[in-house]
């Protein structure tokens, strides 16, 4: 109960702050429309009859890439929200004020990121909405339960990486190698813009180690073709494995970082 009201307070606070910058909302949604339109016209140049690996998802290139960009937002959010929020609260000095209340740092970090995930979800829905309304993408097959399950596993496994990255920020303040490495590689290797099958074999190896690869594959099947949970079992199993490995690992690393910062007295430094 107490936990829930804390979480709500964080979301409320973030909503109040963000909505005071309302121009930013309008521009970000305009940006979504423009990026969707860009890919729509690019897809017109492409003859999807030849794209065997795209056709595996039962539709043309545009629906394929629309889902890629709509849901890769979760990835960049997970990479940046934990470390970014901690850093900005350190700079304003509000982190120290939170830390002397009976609220754990882990609660603070997770609650701070929730607004970003909510906003990312709104954006993802807007991508799909624009896709359906303006560009006639067919979502009637969508299996909502399977999509939500994959999405949940995606958020949990990616958050593990995000929390590890926040641990680096707590100790080193700036420049964490984790999110840098994962961010530069994921856009390319995870099949956001093109299927990983078109990569040469030796490059394709990297994509197997990135959770986003499995998320996007599963989401496309579930959203465009209505695959059931049973049919998506391979993707779900891999994502689940990522969660099982990354969640405890991130908690461990985070605890270690917290201890380091408390010893050096730099918990609230930046």
């Amino acid at each position: 109960m107490v936990y829930l009201s804390k979480v709500t307070a964080f979301i409320r606070k973030e909503f109040l702050i963000q909505s005071s910058y309302w121009m930013a909302f309008i521009f970000s949604w305009l940006g979504i429309l423009i990026s969707a339109a860009t890919f729509y016209f690019i897809s017109k140049l492409l003859n999807s009859e030849n794209m065997i690996s795209v056709k595996a998802y039962g539709a043309g290139y545009f629906p394929y890439v629309l889902i890629g960009i709509a849901f890769s937002g979760y990835f960049s959010t997970a990479m940046h929200t934990f470390s970014g929020n901690i850093r900005s609260e350190q700079i304003t000095g509000t982190l120290e004020a939170m830390l002397v209340t009976p609220t754990r740092l882990s609660t603070i970090i997770i609650s701070l990121s929730l607004w970003d995930f909510i906003f990312t979800s709104i954006n993802a829905v807007i991508y799909l909405f624009f896709g359906a309304v303006f560009f006639k993408v067919d979502f009637t097959q969508m299996n909502i339960i399977a999509s939500l399950l994959i999405l949940t596993l995606t958020v949990i496994s990616l958050s593990g990486i995000g929390i590890i990255s926040a641990s680096f920020i707590i100790v080193f303040k700036k420049g964490d190698p984790v999110s840098w490495l994962v961010t530069i590689s994921s856009g390319f290797f995870s099949g956001v813009f093109f299927p990983v099958e078109v990569l040469p074999k030796y490059l394709r190896v990297f994509s197997y180690f990135l959770p986003l690869t499995y998320s996007l594959k599963g989401l496309r099947h579930a959203i465009l073709q209505g695959y059931s949970i049973g049919m998506l079992l391979p993707e779900i199993a891999v994502l689940f494995a990522f969660c099982i490995i990354l969640t405890p690992l991130s908690i461990k690393i985070f605890g270690y970082a917290l201890r380091c910062a408390k010893i050096s007295g730099s918990l609230t430094h930046y």
């Binding site: 107490v2 009201s5 804390k6 709500t8 307070a9 964080f10 409320r12 606070k13 109040l16 702050i17 005071s20 910058y21 304003t92 000095g93 509000t94 120290e96 004020a97 939170m98 830390l99 002397v100 209340t101 009976p102 609220t103 754990r104 100790v171 080193f172 201890r259 408390k262 010893i263 050096s264 007295g265 730099s266 918990l267 609230t268």
Partner: protein, 263 residues
């Protein structure tokens, strides 16, 4: 449990540059150890107003941060309101309020009320309790007309009063105040000092540890005063005891301070 705070051999050494950095960024700089808090053993009674004075860098803030579980001590331990700071962090935090004279640490785009309600939730208050205490505290600190204004529009004095209000939200038994009235005008300073003494200590039986550079204020307010230098408590006691220490039964705290620090 007669004591609000008991410390035994509390010490903190800061190592700079930190080991991880040294290996990468400063391989040739010599490592330096700063003894910020040195073997402090004191007991502070419940309901006491305890003042901590000392030159810049004498370790006053570090001492309070250790007691607030923000910094881990290198040696020694402390018990705050009956709870071990190393083992019962949550309990300690529920018993304390930390007020720092740094007035930046709020959300600038939110109103004063929104700021306070956010922190009230972190102190486990439900919306009803939070509304009630915000009303009470804003009356007390005379900011009730400002509550709907955004934080960025407020003067430094108002911001500092808001920081004091925040420290009191959780109705803490022990208050740590690190130069809380630094930018308040003389009149308000006096009112606030009276508030600490009469409302917090006498009426509600709270314990206050106050760091200040204003020796006159410390002299008037404190039940006991500790003079710190280089992490050590050089002298600690009532004004009369400090006077006895310098063999001047009518001397001011300022006199005692300068004699003890020089020696």
């Amino acid at each position: 449990m007669d004591y609000a705070i008991e410390t035994s051999g509390l010490s903190k050494e800061f190592i700079t540059p930190r080991i991880i950095y040294r290996a990468i960024a400063h391989p040739f700089t010599k490592q330096k150890t700063i003894l910020a808090v040195n073997n402090i053993t004191i007991s502070i009674r419940k309901g006491e107003l305890f003042c901590l004075v000392g030159p810049n860098g004498s370790g006053k803030t570090t001492f309070l941060k250790i007691l607030s579980c923000l910094i881990l001590p290198t040696r020694g331990n402390a018990v705050v309101f009956g709870y071990d700071i190393l083992k019962k962090e949550d309990k300690v935090k529920a018993a304390i309020g930390l007020i720092i004279g740094d007035e930046r640490s709020f959300y600038w785009r939110l109103t004063l009320r929104q700021n306070l309600s956010f922190f009230a939730a972190l102190y486990n208050l439900n919306p009803l309790q939070s509304k009630k205490i915000i009303k009470e505290l804003s009356c007390l600190l005379e900011i009730e007309d400002m509550l709907e204004r955004s934080f960025q529009e407020c003067s430094t004095g108002i911001k500092q009063r808001l920081a004091i209000a925040r420290g009191l939200l959780g109705d803490p038994q022990i208050l740590f105040m690190d130069e809380p009235v630094k930018s308040l005008d003389a009149l308000l300073r006096r009112e606030l000092n009276i508030f600490i003494k009469d409302k917090l200590i006498k009426e509600r039986g709270k314990t206050v540890i106050l760091i200040t550079h204003n020796l006159k204020e410390a002299e008037q307010l404190a039940d006991r005063i500790a003079i710190m230098q280089k992490g050590e408590i050089l002298a600690c006691g009532t004004l009369a005891e400090l006077r006895a220490k310098i063999n001047n039964p009518i001397g001011s705290l300022e006199e005692a301070y300068s004699k003890i620090i020089v020696d």
